[in-house]
Amino acid sequence: MKRLSWFNAVSLTLGFAFLYIPMVILVIFSFNESKLVTVWAGFSTRWYAELMQNEAFLNAAWVTIKVAVFSSTLATVLGTLAAYVLVRGGRFMGRTLFSGMIYAPLVMPEVITGLSLLLLFIGIGLDRGVLTIVLAHTTFSMCYVSVVVSSRLVSFDRSLEEAALDLGCSAAEAFRLVTLPIIAPAVISGWLLAFTLSLDDLVIASFTSGPAATTLPIKIFSAVRLGVSPEINALSTIMIAVVTVGVITASLVTKHQVARQRREEMEAVRS
């Protein structure tokens, strides 16, 4: 077995300490009794209780989840379609423009995307609210979905689709019965990515939301501008906890599946 040299051990320790200490502090101080965030005054869950009574935050959270569910679902459908067109569509008019429009939003500063969408919505007279945020989020997260799905499609053995056609499937049946079930993990991770992006987004949502619809990041941002607050710490802790549980579960499930597949393949070779 390989052992880590002291240099690697030190750089890994320092690196991960840097990545995690700020979050750990945040979590610890969300249980602080005092209103002063940087002075420890005993364990308490009062900020969580206050958070649960804060109507504005709860409303914003509800709006955020609604937006995230709608936009990520729509983005997954559109993004998968776009990936399929990019990888399997062959040549068509304006293909370069299309792939450019898929990749550009990934590196586009959010302020520009937000500004341009807002100007569009105003231009066509669309009232800003949940609908406009959903449209905006769908547009940029579909590009992420399509990158995730197309990287899976590129490595997808094309002869599987041909085999389906050969055995009597129409093109649509081949996609539904063979392609989709096999790329499903990529589609699901695309959805999760779109969902998280939508939950996290502040800038684009700020541009495209109206007074009727405030999302959680907008709410947090306006609170945080005034300084650190224990209530925000509590809220952050909840969000960090959800993500951590999700990511760890996902990686355990994947690890388990990979291990099982490998074991079964070994058994198959031996038999």
């Binding site: 053995d157 002869s159 599987l160 041909e162 085999a163 389906a164 056609l165 050969d166 055995l167 009597g168 499937c169 129409s170 049946e173 019965l177 063979v178 079930p181 096999i182 597949q261 079964e264 393949e265 058994e267 198959a268 070779v269 038999s271």
Partner: protein, 375 residues
């Protein structure tokens, strides 16, 4: 000719199952298939043999319907199949990668095509079990493709493509992924299954041994053209060109000029001061035509003394000996500078070997041992 011999290509009455009529396929500037015409008969085991890029895979994919000819027509049982999409053709394909659906069990993989046909449940059940029996996979029906070995996967792919009882089965390098020993066993299994089901098989391969073993006829391809179509023994014994002679097995090529001495006998002069070589060859050549004598190493005998009654004998010096266990190949340099390979079977233990390096030996062969090939 007895009735039991299977040679429909010699029967002028026989109707081919597949007929390629002047088919050309171009990809942009590249011509993959060049004005090709062939016939394949029912119940044949037809091998397309050639190096990679010779167009054999394109030919097969046109039969499956994944490519359409740029020019020419393809007939299946007398019907032009150009307008028929792959999912409506009575043709099935076994893919090189096997293309087993990883999310479906072996049973579901085999049943996949039958379900698409809308076959009744009970019939599907029966047909799948029949296929599992044929390929000896009954025990593995519930497993997923990654839970079985490579050889078993190959049989699943075969069972799946045979399940719909196609008129024609296409096999794209079907044994390419198997190791050598398994491949040899599987070759016989393939032949057995082809005979049992009576399906017409077209196999694509770059492995000449495989083509020779399984096929009723072999088509040797190069640069999108068919060079020769014949039974394996005729391909080996009487190749029609230097390309085929060189591609199939090991061969010695001696350059010279032909002079007819009888209806099918020639004297080939090949070097100043040495007697011309006597050859009996089916390929007709004109007087003074440049040609090659192609002769297989195992047909060249090696002796210490000049054999008295040989048709052809030349003297040379042993340059190299390749000991392969069952046989030894001697590389003998002639006074002309050419190197000729001669093979002998090692029927005795190596200690009794007659020749060693630098020995002067006589090589000899009969007039019927080789063929003359035009340049």
């Amino acid at each position: 000719m007895t009735a039991s011999v299977f040679e429909p290509w010699n029967d002028p009455e026989a109707k081919p199952l597949i007929h390629f009529q002047n088919v050309t396929k171009r990809f942009g500037e590249f011509t993959a298939i060049d004005n090709l015409t062939i016939d394949i008969y029912e119940r044949e085991f037809y091998a397309l043999l050639g190096p990679s890029g010779c167009g054999k895979t394109t030919l097969m994919r046109m039969l499956a319907g994944f490519e359409t000819p740029t020019e020419g027509k393809i007939f299946l049982a007398g019907q032009d199949i150009a307008p028929v999409p792959p999912n409506k053709r009575a043709v099935n394909m076994m893919f090189q990668s096997y293309a087993l659906f990883p999310h479906l069990s072996i049973w579901e993989n085999i049943a996949f095509g039958l379900k698409r046909e809308g076959m009744a449940k009970a019939d599907i059940q029966q047909r799948v079990e029949e296929m599992l029996r044929l390929t000896r996979l009954e025990k593995f029906a519930r497993r997923k493709p990654h839970q079985i070995s490579g050889g078993q996967r190959q049989r699943v792919a075969l069972a799946r493509s045979l399940a719909k009882a196609p008129k024609l089965l296409l096999l794209d390098e079907p044994l390419g992924a198997l190791d050598k020993k398994l491949r040899q066993d599987t070759q016989f299994e393939l032949m057995d299954i082809q005979e049992k089901t009576g399906t017409t098989f077209v196999i694509v391969t770059h492995d000449q041994e495989e083509a020779m073993t399984v096929a009723s006829r072999v088509a040797v391809m190069d640069h999108g053209k068919i060079i020769q179509v014949a039974t394996p023994d005729r391909i080996y014994e009487t190749p029609n060109s230097v390309y085929v002679a060189d591609f199939i097995g090991d061969v010695n090529l001696i350059e010279g000029t032909a002079r007819p001495t009888g209806s099918d006998t020639y004297a080939m002069s090949w070097h100043e001061g040495l007697p011309p070589l006597k050859v009996q060859s089916p390929n007709s050549l004109s007087d003074g035509q440049k040609c090659h004598l192609a002769i297989r190493p195992e047909k060249v005998a090696i002796n210490a003394e000049k054999p008295a009654d040989a048709d052809n004998a030349v003297q040379g010096r042993i340059l190299d000996i390749a000991y392969l266990g069952n046989i030894s190949t001697y590389h003998v340099e002639l006074p002309t500078g050419a190197v000729i390979k001669a093979q002998t079977a090692n029927t005795r233990r190596i200690a009794r070997r007659a020749f060693t390096w630098e020995d002067t030996v006589w090589l000899s062969w009969t007039a019927t041992a080789g063929v003359l090939l035009a340049e």
